[in-house]
Structure formats: C-alpha cells, structure tokens
Symmetry: C2
Subunit: 144 residues, 2 copies
C-alpha cells in the first residue's frame, strides 16, 4: 500500500516483582527527556506489541515478564516531546534479577503512589490509572 | 528525534445500536482486501486514537459513537496483507442514522456470531474476543 503516515507505536510495561507486589520498576533515562520512566520502547515492524513488551522489559531491566493485562493505550499527541507516539501499556509480573540495561542509567523499585517521583512523558497519568486499577479492578475507560 | 520506523496504527470500532443491542455494524469494503470489516481506519498524526475512532465511525457509517471500552490491541504482523498495521479496537454505542461512507460499498447490521460472514483481516478473531467479552465480561488477556 502507499506509505501510510501514522503516529509511532511504543509499549511501556508496569512490572511487579513477586517479592515486592506493591512496588513497580522504573528506569532512570539516559537520554532526553531525563527523568524516571516505565521500561518500554518502540515496537519493531514485524513484531507484535506483546513481543515488543517482553523484549523491552528484558533489555531495560533484565527481567523476564509475563504480561497480565492491557492497562490502556495512551495517545495524546503531546505526551512525548520528541514526536507523536502512541504507547500500549501492559501490567506484567517480572522474574529474575533486576539490572540496568543499555538505555538506562539505573533502575529503581518504587511505590507507584510516591508523588515525589520525577516522571517523564505521561507516566504520572499512567501510574494514576494503574493505582485505580489495583484499588478497584477497573481498567480506565476510553478518554473523551 | 530520528525518524522512527514502527508499524502503522489504526483503530477499528465495534458499534452497537440501542435498537439492536445484539447486532453490530460492519462495512462492505470498496477497496482490497474485499469483504466485510469493522468500521475503522488509520490514526492521523496529531490525533489521539479515541478521536480517530469517533471520526472513522462517523465517516464510514454516519453514526455518532460513544466509546465504552477498549477491547484490545491487535498487532500480529500478518493481520493486514498490505503491511504491518496495529489496530486499537474499541466497543462503542452508536446513535444516528446508519449510512454508507465514502470508503464503503455498503453497511450491514449483523449478528457477530454469524459464521457465514466474509470477514477480512483478523476481524473474525476480534469478533470472537468481543463475543466472549459480552458473554463473560472479561476482556481478552495479552496474547503470548
């Protein structure tokens, strides 16, 4: 087909470890925008988003993840200052030893309700949706 | 940022009408692949997926839709023979008069469980997930 121009597609993963079920993994970004972010990255052509999520989680945190739920799709055109990127966000359980991948300056296990986290992109919104999901069992409704 | 190459992003909408809650709207495609498909189309750069879904539903069916749930994200690289396209699929309620848009050769109100439907792309899989959601209330789990 003619080259279709759409937003880019990425995936981000909210990873919980069995030993710390109330905490999640964040990465300290090495590249701008600097700050804390969910592990994630772009989806490659030829790979499904679930594969991309498992691959990015492993690359960025050293963890093997099992995807448990699709939290939502975040697509506000201004959510990424580098260009319009849609993120498919999964909730996952992680196993293995937490480590720092190539694209990260560090990894942290944090309380997702900690208001002092220096989060980039729209990851504060995503974590607010995640906390509501944990508390109520309800996934976010489509935004108007 | 450097031009990132990812799959294209589209949205498809499962539209129910208040008068026919057990049926959904399909469009007869004018362009290849020929067959029946959910109303939908590509997401534009600068528009969020929810806006794209409301716009495409209106363009293809004449209906104003209210998005009720995110059914899933379908991203198998072989799902669209024209190239790797990820679809964000919503369940929506439609209002207005059902009509045929520019890209469609016709619209139909069908029973989503009708096994004789000549569905294109992976829309038979999407409708199987939708029927399970209607029956059980459970959204599809992330695929392995």
């Amino acid at each position: 087909m003619a080259r279709i121009v759409t937003p880019a597609v990425a995936t981000d993963i909210i990873i919980r470890l069995q030993e710390w079920p109330e905490r999640i993994v964040l990465v300290q970004r090495r590249n701008p925008p600097r700050g804390l972010a969910l592990p994630g990255g772009f989806v490659d052509v030829g790979e499904c988003v679930e594969q991309a999520a498992v691959r990015e989680a492993l690359e960025e945190t050293g963890l093997q993840v099992q995807l448990q739920a699709l939290l939502g799709v975040y697509s506000d055109p201004s959510r990424d200052p580098r260009g319009h990127t849609i993120s498919v966000v999964f909730v996952a359980d992680g196993r293995g030893e937490l480590g720092t991948g190539d694209d990260a300056a560090g990894v942290r296990l944090v309380d997702p309700g900690d208001s002092a986290l220096d989060l980039v992109f729209d990851h504060a919104l995503i974590l607010a949706d995640y906390r509501r999901f944990v508390r109520t069992g309800y996934l976010p409704r489509p935004r108007r």
